[in-house]
């Protein structure tokens, strides 16, 4: 099976740290799932929302689920805060990713909030650490670091 969206893998500096979990208000009444990549929305009172297919800044990864139209706008949900030192893993949308060069390409993009694009290497802000394994669906299981984090960027 594919990864459950973004899953924390390990710390790039070799420490045994794990992400800090905080309650954040979410935007709208839509669905959220564990593993969804979200970014803070300045025009919506600082609420977080799912990223789209063009992702530079990221805030965190959802750690709980909410069905659509069940909750209210600004409900608080558990979010794992992303930092630059963390490596996350997530399935790509294809079985090969020839243009994704680990360590060198630093603008890898998302396909959506829980999938990394195997071909868009210019629109985002992720660097692949490893793309040598496949998930059980046969797609690339990418290990990435985020370069533009809400808490730690400029």
């Amino acid at each position: 099976m594919s990864s459950r969206g973004f899953e924390f893998a390990y710390m790039l500096d070799g420490s045994n740290a794990t992400p800090v979990i905080r309650d954040f208000p979410v935007h709208g009444t839509g669905a959220y799932a564990v593993g969804d990549l979200v970014v803070i929305n300045g025009s919506a009172d600082g609420e977080v929302t799912r990223v789209t297919s063009t992702t530079t800044e990221v805030t965190g990864v959802m750690q709980e689920t909410r069905a659509a139209s069940v909750g209210a706008d600004a409900d608080k949900m558990k979010l794992a805060i992303i930092t630059r030192g963390q490596v996350w893993r997530c399935s790509m949308d294809a079985s090969t990713c020839a243009t994704v060069i680990p360590g060198y390409v630093k603008s890898l993009d998302t396909a959506d909030h829980n999938t990394i694009s195997a071909t868009d290497v210019t629109g985002g802000a992720m660097t692949a650490v490893d793309v040598s394994t496949l998930d059980d669906d046969g797609n690339v299981m990418a290990y990435v670091v985020f370069l533009d984090t809400t808490f730690g960027n400029t």
Partner: protein, 150 residues
């Protein structure tokens, strides 16, 4: 004796972390020693640093006599929090702890004492000790790491 190139010293964050070791492809036919600092090519291969290399990918953890494109080799991933120690090429340096952020390489396993205003990107943490050859044993951090920069 001089250091065996770059050796991990400690984590600047005060934790017990040690570098993550990854298997990484090395530029074909290249020879590297354990302790050599490496940068990255546009094809994603680790390769030898030059004197003024800024971006550092990691430090070799095994010797390679002639790399093959299909193989991968043990490499410690460079992180900004990591302090490495490595011998310099002279007994004194004008580098200033914390202030000099542009130290250059002599080669992959030696730091240049003279290019304190160079185009490198190492910052001196401690330069108060000498190795057994009488050269400065520098403790440094890498400021431009391949995994984590932009």
């Amino acid at each position: 004796m001089a250091t065996k190139g770059f050796e991990f010293a400690y984590d600047l964050g005060g934790g017990q972390a040690t570098p993550v070791i990854l298997d990484w492809p090395i530029a074909p036919y290249l020879a590297l020693s354990q302790g050599d600092a490496v940068t990255i090519t546009s094809l994603g291969y680790g390769t030898a640093v030059g004197t003024a290399t800024q971006e550092v990918l990691g430090v070799m953890q095994e010797a390679v006599t002639s790399a093959t494109s299909s193989a991968k080799y043990k490499m410690a991933v460079a992180s900004r929090n990591h302090v490495y120690r490595c011998s310099m090429d002279a007994a004194t340096t004008t580098a200033i702890v914390g202030s000099t952020k542009s130290l250059q390489f002599v080669d992959g396993n030696t730091i240049d004492t003279h290019f304190t205003a160079g185009t490198g990107s190492m910052c001196l943490v401690d330069g108060s000790q000498l190795d057994d050859d009488g050269n400065v044993l520098a403790y440094i951090t890498f400021l431009d790491t391949s995994l984590g920069n932009t």
